[in-house]
């Protein structure tokens, strides 16, 4: 038993393990890069880096896929982390000659933790603003939700938002704030909608209420292209205490909420990008877009916005442009794009609690390498000049 523990210990502190893990991480990163052509950048991150085991599906012909399992990012990263710490605890005696190596590895620990934290906690949203418009929420560019809004009181809305993931499961959903149960009759992660009158031999209508009765839903292949978005659609049946209220079609393609009344209350039903509300609002004062003379190459684009908190303590203007984001309340607003003939700005809104760690890691690792190689270089030059004199 003791022998076994010792050999286990030797294995985990060994440099061979380090080298093997480094080689595995190269394979992982390489395969993940290649597979972006098929999966797109987001799916690749989930599949390869935020997982313990990744499955590389190599298409062979049209139907068959060869599946190659690879150790995922959490496994390789975690083992590297463990190996690094174990080796240092077990073997490392601090000497000035090795101070650089020590610093570099210490920085690497920060880098790995930082990447883990942003993988777990980073949130990514987008905010679209027309000139003159004010908004206090941002929407996810990928995740969606089904919102049921009790709009009876004109002063405020009561919202129940159901993440798309729950719709995908297909089980009935019940929520204390809702006087009805939700049955998912159909769900498609990506679908196109057409008027039934324009489709030859449309399938039987799924919906009995709202716009959906006139709409045919055609499922589409999921898209992984970075500039395309999946447009999910679902057929939702609402069942109250007195039986079914009817079935509605909801989809990202139907931007307008569908309204109905139930037990004297006005409800609105809409599928939209997952929303994230803030206790402050941004207004777009002016969007500018300069091009180089005689070309369509963008020279810069910038958004002049006004930032106002609900409590009124902050009320100021800010200019957001490339390489110059606005940071406020743990969020960072970046100039991401524009549309609508330069009248709408798209801001990327990011919350990343671990964002300082890479900076610390960077300083430690660079400093460590400079020190270490500096020491080696001085030693080499000294030796070399002695050797030359001798020769």
């Amino acid at each position: 038993m003791r022998e076994f523990i010792n050999s286990l210990k030797r294995f985990f502190v060994s440099l061979q393990l380090t080298v093997a893990l480094l080689a595995l991480s190269i394979v992982l990163v390489f395969v993940a890069t290649i597979d972006q052509v098929h999966l797109g950048i987001w799916a690749v991150q989930e599949e390869y880096f935020r997982s313990f085991v990744a499955y590389w599906r190599i298409p062979i012909g049209d139907t068959f896929k060869l599946v190659v399992p690879l150790p995922g990012g959490y496994l390789v990263g975690g083992l590297l982390f463990f190996n690094l710490i174990a080796a240092h605890v077990h073997r490392f005696k601090f000497t000035w000659k090795k101070s650089g190596i020590f610093l570099t590895h210490f920085g690497l620990i920060f880098l790995l933790i930082g990447e883990l934290l942003s993988g777990l906690w980073q949130e990514d949203f987008q905010m679209r603003l027309d000139e003159g418009q004010t908004s206090n929420f941002s929407e996810s560019p990928r995740l969606n939700e089904l919102a049921l809004i009790d709009a009876t009181d004109p002063k405020y809305d009561d919202v129940v938002a159901i993440p798309e993931a729950l719709l995908q499961k297909g089980q009935a959903i019940q929520h204390p704030s809702l006087p009805f149960r939700i049955n998912i009759r159909a769900y498609h992660p990506n679908a196109s909608l057409q008027m039934r009158s324009q489709v030859q031999n449309p399938p039987p209508a799924l919906a009995t209420q709202g716009l959906g009765a006139d709409i045919a839903v055609t499922p589409q292949e999921m898209t992984y292209k970075p500039n395309e978005r999946n447009l999910p659609a679902a057929a939702i049946e609402l069942v109250g205490t007195n039986g079914s209220l009817g079935t509605w079609i909801v989809s990202l393609m139907i931007g307008e909420a569908q309204t109905f009344t139930h037990e004297g209350k006005t409800w609105r039903l809409v599928m939209r990008g997952e929303r994230f509300y803030k206790n402050f609002a941004l207004s777009l004062l002016k969007f500018s877009h300069d091009r180089y003379a005689g070309t369509e190459i963008p020279k810069n684009f910038s958004s002049r916005v006004r930032l106002k908190t609900d409590d009124g303590k902050t009320d100021r203007e800010a200019l957001i442009y490339m390489n110059n984001p606005l940071r406020f309340d743990g969020l960072t607003f970046y100039q991401a794009g524009f549309e609508n003939n330069d009248r709408t700005t798209i801001l990327q809104v990011v919350r990343n609690p671990g964002r300082a760690l890479p900076y610390v890691a960077c300083i430690l690792m660079s400093l460590g390498l400079v020190i270490q190689f500096g020491i080696s270089l001085t030693a080499f030059i000294n030796k070399h000049s002695v050797a030359e004199k001798a020769a």
Binding site: I41, F49, T295, S376
Partner: protein, 636 residues
């Protein structure tokens, strides 16, 4: 004699360089140099017409010379003369073979038969050389006139190919679209300075100026209900139509702004003529180009040269700083420092290699002097490009090739100064040659000094992140090439003695350390830039992953060595694999066509990359030959 050989070699090199800098005697009576220096605004940058001529020729026919292999005299003595012919004598230029086609299917589509492509040499000596393969036996470049009957068909094919997703296009479709876009580029050039179909554009402009005054009177008379000159109004409206065509078809912004407060408001000739309806007078620059066209067609060089001189004198008053830059660029174009450097690198390479066989010290020094000269030349070239473009040294794939060249050669010079064994010279010669050849091929896609898109328009990050990454690339490649020298000398020759082997071992180790430092710092700086501009430190974007793999690979080499897992031979094999890793990061990821960094998509280079990877794997295979089979290690 042997003592002076290194100096003599250096002198020959310097003479080569000086020769490129001296102004050459013009072959034409027309002041083509003066014409080539005239500034125009294209793609957001003021540049001399000479640059326009050269980049257009490189784009449409992959070289700057306009000639046919069977005819000894070139059609135009310089790119500028070609441009002048295109603009002022389009019918003649249409007969020059300036469009390159490699696809046999496209050739047959364009109605070009084997008779057209086969080259019939006059002299039997040339025919013999062609059989041996020293001279081309088929043509690759054809003239606009040759395509003329098939232009409609080409347009139809281009429309069909355009509908196909760019990644899914086959070779023929790509060739169709390339030729189509080249023809459009060419046609736009013809409409850039004067109206090509006008028999005498100068006369047309003067007539227009006269008619304009009359037309104003006629229009007023018509409004007042009095009799008016209908013919004049008709002529004026016809002129307007013609100028609008010119404005739509032209590409160069050749007319400088009249308003000094808007230095960037350059106009196309056509647009400035349309604007005459508001301004009332024709821009002097438009008249200048019409005058140049007139004198060119009537073969009056004296008048042509005088117009160029007068126009320049006028420009100097308002655009002195811009002219200094575009004149420098013209000089820089003519000197072609990077092409001269290619010759120097090759010469140095041979000096270095032969120094291992005979006259070690003499040839080693000669090679080293040549490398130093090439280094000075490339440095000046890169600095000049920075000054003209106003950006950090590395902004696109082309300049990254120059950057990798410079970094590798600089490190080699340092190595050579320390070790004095010609290894640095040979490595510098090889890498300088290869990287500059790569740069030449990258320059075929157009002007290499581009304006930077918004997110990249930050000299701070360009000069920190991009430069450090380039240093990392250069150093990793250098380690790989030094390792190749080790393997080749060890396996195939007896020249890898103990001191040389030790020296190479230390060189490779040192350069790998250096490469680790710079690729790591460069990668992290890139992460910080991404955090500043996109809101995430790391996004697993292909280019980021490529850089990361280089860092991990270098780290792996170092850990293998520190842990005693590899000795000299293993280190060399790992370092050679570093070449593959770096080539993948530099070019491979761009070929995937996904991600934020896909700024230099190129698929023609794919086969070259594959070939390079295979060659490196072969070298690794050779390195793995058992040590007792290495010639240097066999006991004699």
């Amino acid at each position: 004699m042997k003592r002076f050989l290194p100096l003599l070699v250096l002198l020959v090199g310097v003479a080569m360089v000086v020769n490129t800098l001296l102004p050459h005697k013009q072959k034409s009576e027309f002041d083509l140099e003066g014409f080539g220096k005239l500034p125009v605004l294209v793609n957001g940058r003021i540049k001399p017409l000479d640059t326009v001529a050269r980049t257009t020729l490189l784009t449409i026919q992959s070289r700057q010379r306009v000639s046919d292999p069977a005819i000894s005299q070139p059609f135009a003595s310089s790119p500028t003369e070609w441009l002048a012919t295109v603009c002022f004598e389009p019918a003649k230029a249409n007969s020059f073979p300036t469009f390159r086609i490699d696809s046999p299917e496209l050739l047959s589509l364009m109605g070009i038969t084997e008779d057209d492509t086969r080259i019939k040499y006059d002299s039997s000596a040339k025919r013999f050389m062609a059989i041996l393969g020293f001279l081309p036996s088929t043509r690759a470049r054809f003239s606009f006139d040759q395509f003329r009957p098939k232009l409609d068909e080409l347009e139809r094919q281009a429309r069909l190919a355009d509908e196909v997703d760019s990644a899914a296009r086959n070779k023929f479709q790509k060739a169709v679209l390339t030729l189509y876009s080249n023809l459009i580029t060419y046609q736009k050039l013809q409409y850039s300075l004067v109206l090509p179909e006008s028999p005498d554009f100068l006369y047309e402009l003067m007539q227009f100026q006269e008619n304009l005054v009359k037309a104003v009177a006629a229009a007023k008379a018509r409004e007042a209900g009095q009799p008016y000159d209908e013919a004049v109004l008709k002529a004026i409206s016809e002129s307007r139509n013609r100028f609008e065509t010119l404005a739509q078809q032209g590409s160069l912004l050749a007319i400088p702004p009249r308003d000094p407060s808007k230095p960037e408001a350059w106009q196309k000739t056509g647009q400035s003529l349309v604007d005459v309806f508001h301004t009332g007078s024709i821009a002097p620059a438009a008249l200048t180009y019409a005058g140049l066209s007139y004198t060119w067609r009537n073969n009056s060089p004296a008048e042509f040269n005088e117009i160029v001189r007068l126009y320049r004198n006028e420009l100097v008053k308002r655009f002195a700083p811009q002219l200094t830059k575009s004149d420098t660029e013209d000089r820089f174009n003519a000197a072609e420092p990077f092409y001269t450097s290619i010759y120097l690198f090759v010469m140095a390479f041979f000096c270095g290699v032969f120094s291992w066989l005979l006259w070690p010290e003499t040839l080693r020094k000669s090679g080293f002097y040549l490398i130093a000269l090439a280094w000075v030349l490339t440095t000046i070239g890169i600095v000049t490009r920075m000054w003209i473009g106003g950006y950090a040294p590395v902004t696109n794939l082309y300049s990254s090739a120059l950057g990798v060249c410079w970094v590798a050669v600089t490190l080699c010079i340092v190595l050579e100064m320390i070790f004095k064994n010609a290894i640095g010279t040979v490595a510098a010669g090889t890498m300088g040659f290869i990287t500059l050849i790569i740069a030449h091929h990258l320059s075929l896609s157009g002007d290499t000094m581009e304006m930077m898109r918004a997110v990249l328009d930050s000299n701070f990050w360009l000069s920190t992140h991009v430069v450090t990454i380039t240093i990392g690339y250069g150093a990793t490649f250098l380690a790989g090439f030094l390792a190749i020298i080790y393997v080749f000398r060890g396996v195939f020759t007896r020249s890898l003695d103990k001191p040389t082997a030790d020296a190479l071992n230390r060189m490779v180790y040192g350069i790998v350390c250096f490469a680790t430092l710079f690729s790591l710092v460069g990668t992290i700086l890139g992460g910080i830039w991404a955090d500043q501009s996109w809101g995430r430190f790391w996004g697993w974007d292909p280019k980021e992953n490529g850089a990361l793999i280089i860092v991990i690979w270098n780290a792996l080499i170092l850990h293998c060595r520190w842990g005693g897992l590899v000795k000299a031979r293993g280190l060399m094999a790992l370092a050679v694999f570093g070449n593959i890793v770096t080539a993948w990061s530099w070019f491979g990821v761009n070929m995937l066509g996904v991600g934020l960094h896909s700024y230099g998509f190129m698929d023609a280079a794919f086969w070259w990359l594959l070939l390079f990877v295979i060659s490196q794997l072969l070298v690794i295979g050779i390195a793995l030959v058992p040590l007792e089979k290495w010639r240097s290690l066999k006991t004699a």
